[in-house]
């Protein structure tokens, strides 16, 4: 019992420490096009955390507009966004808001 309990805590701690993440399916007809990629880069920049957008086996730094555009993510594709760093909780909340509002 004790053993399992402690393992669980360990796991939880690990998750908290490593990163925050969410998945989102793109609804915008053009996919992640220039404008939302720009909004994303602009909003991601102030955060200290490393923020990554990943889909279909490729990933890009959310702070880099061209790398995100180069992913060529289309409508209907599921993306995974992760934030890793000191302010990852705020960062992931901000990212989630942007995806919901713009994409």
């Amino acid at each position: 019992m004790v053993k399992i309990y402690s393992k669980k805590i360990k796991q939880n701690r690990k998750e908290v420490k490593i990163m925050k993440t969410f998945t989102y399916t793109i609804k915008d007809a053009l996919g992640i096009h220039a404008r939302p990629a720009g909004v994303l880069a602009k909003e991601a920049k102030p955060f200290a955390s490393t923020i990554t957008v990943a889909a279909a086996g490729k990933s890009a730094d959310a702070k880099r507009i061209m790398a995100v555009m180069a992913l060529g993510i289309k409508q209907g594709v599921q993306v995974t966004v992760t934030a890793d760093g000191a302010d990852e909780t705020d960062a992931i909340a901000a990212m989630e808001k942007i995806f919901k509002e713009n994409l």
Partner: protein, 537 residues
């Protein structure tokens, strides 16, 4: 003081500073640099300037085209601040000890290539954005003047040639005259000059060194004078004043009927290419709009305009004209008017290619969006619709089917609309010859003499070399016009002209004899045509 001659395509006098409009194709030379950090600082400085230019453009665009369309400039400045882009520039300068211009050009090309190779058509088109931002920085680095950075004061535009999409983007308030090396009397630049009532010359041996100098464009004799002396400036100021007086005389014709001495009446309407032309329509007392070219809505955008965006434009025009007739021509893109996001294939012979109604009847979703917007706007004024580049009765019937679908859709959505008069452009010899058949299908004809002449004479209106063969009064064209008018009247519908020929006052009498019901001309020609009508017996 130097003087150069060209061919006049629109008269008038302009005095002002010369602005050499250059397509941003700066030749970039690879140079070795010794102080790489200084070179990077030079790049940073230029980038800062580029970003501030883009911010200015963004602000201006918000006012002109609205927030959504202006965002492209914000995206451009973000691209310039992009980490990968900048890393590439720094790396090239440091590792190869080369000049910033070359590093930016190489980086721009590489990134443009990357986008060009993507599968998605939208992403492919972004390679143009990469070229655009890179060229902006290179232009700043090499001290060249960029297209958009047109100075604050009105200028005489001097250029090799001007594409329709370039003239569309120019700030109309700041144009005094056009002087180009290429172009022809029937080009888009010429049409714009006529619409705006500013002098224009072509076939001029233009020189880059003119940039920033004072110039006089004499659209009467076809001359441009560089660095004029004071006496010359005075002489031309006098000419300008005489022009104004003449125009004021014409103003006295405002409010008068378009009626000949023997009592024959004709409608004189205005052609417009943008909502910004509406003021000129009202100032020149046109009794309606005979041709509203809807293309500008598409040309000014980086993606298909939505139904709502189009509706707002059509509604504004309909409301401004307050019950007067507004004839809106559906999308006439292709040939010399290209829009990136349509991704039209390069054609051997675009004038005979995939354009206008042919696009609309193939990509019916684009067509239906426009028709929905037009019908919705019809509720707010007196809108008529006409369709360009018709060659057959079948096309017209297909159009009517689609129109019917649109009306049914709106009805089922409880969206109000009014009855809309349906007409077609007669601009192909085919349409003119079968106009007896076509007249049974529609409520009016509007003869597009520019294309009708081009297709009848087999002369490309953009080719300046052919100007000597081009006869706008060719008997074949005039007989086709007569045929169209007769066939229209037999079926009890009306016929007008909305091409350049309608404004040719040496033909006004002949048009009246043919029985034309309407002439639609550039706003600045409304009163001269009225004068010609009133002087006809």
């Amino acid at each position: 003081m130097e003087q150069y001659s060209g061919k006049k395509i629109f008269s008038g006098v302009a005095i002002g500073k010369i602005f050499c409009y250059e397509k941003e194709q700066n030749m970039v030379v690879r140079r070795k640099v010794t102080d790489v950090e200084a070179e990077i600082a030079r790049y940073e400085e230029a980038k800062k300037e580029a970003v501030s230019q883009l911010q200015e453009l963004y602000k201006k665009a918000i006012k002109d085209v609205g927030e959504v369309n202006a965002q492209i400039f914000e995206v451009h400045s973000m691209m310039l601040e992009d980490g990968d882009y900048n890393d590439s520039v720094y790396n090239l300068i440091r590792s190869q000890e080369i000049n910033a211009e070359y590093a930016v050009a190489t980086t721009g090309d590489n990134f443009a290539e990357m986008f060009a190779n993507m599968e998605d058509d939208y992403m492919k088109a972004r390679s143009a954005d990469l070229k655009d931002i890179s060229e902006r920085v290179i232009a700043i680095l090499s001290g060249a003047v960029t297209g958009e950075a047109m100075s604050d004061e009105p200028v005489i535009i001097v250029a090799e040639d001007l594409a329709p999409s370039e003239t569309v983007q120019m700030d109309k308030e700041k144009l005094l005259a056009f002087v180009t090396r290429l172009g022809s009397a029937n080009s888009h630049t010429a049409i714009l000059a006529r619409t705006m009532n500013i002098p224009a010359l072509i076939d001029v041996d233009i020189k880059k060194e003119w940039n920033g100098k004072m110039g006089i464009v004499d659209g009467y004799s076809g001359k441009i004078i560089i660095d004029p002396d004071e006496a010359t400036v005075e002489e031309f100021k006098k000419k300008q004043r005489e022009d104004i007086e003449k125009r004021e005389l014409l103003s006295s014709l405002k409010g008068k009927e378009n009626i000949t001495k023997s009592g024959q009446k004709i409608n004189v309407y205005a052609n417009i290419g943008n909502t910004s032309d509406l003021a000129a329509v009202l100032q020149n007392d046109a009794s309606g709009i005979g041709l509203f070219r809807s293309e500008f809505i598409y040309l000014e955008k980086s993606d298909f305009p939505t139904e709502e965006e189009q509706f707002q434009v059509y509604k504004q025009v309909a409301e401004t004209m307050a019950g007067k007739k507004v004839i809106i021509r559906t999308l006439d893109i292709g040939a010399d008017k290209q829009v990136d996001y349509f991704h039209l294939d390069k054609e051997e012979n675009p004038a005979l290619g995939y354009r206008a109604i042919r696009i609309c009847l193939t990509q019916t979703d684009i067509f239906k969006t426009q028709l929905r917007a037009l019908y919705r706007a019809s509720y707010y004024g007196n809108i008529s619709i006409m369709y360009p580049m018709i060659i057959s009765v079948e096309e017209v019937r297909r159009i009517k089917e689609i129109v019917e679908e649109v009306k049914q859709e709106l009805k089922s959505e409880n969206i109000p609309f009014s009855e809309v008069e349906q007409g077609i452009m007669i601009e192909t010899p085919a349409a003119a010859i079968i106009s007896d058949e076509l007249a049974k299908e529609v409520q009016f004809f509007s003869i597009g003499t520019n294309d009708l002449t081009q297709y009848t004479l087999a002369i490309d209106r953009q080719n300046a070399k052919l100007d000597m063969f081009y006869n706008s009064h060719h008997e074949a064209v005039l007989r086709l016009i007569k045929l169209v008018v007769d066939n229209a009247h037999k079926e009890g519908i009306w016929a007008g002209i909305c091409g350049e020929l309608g404004a040719d006052t040496t033909l006004t009498q002949r048009f009246l004899e043919m029985g034309l019901d309407e002439l639609s001309v550039s706003p600045t020609f409304v009163l001269p045509v009225r004068k010609a009508v009133r002087e006809t017996n």
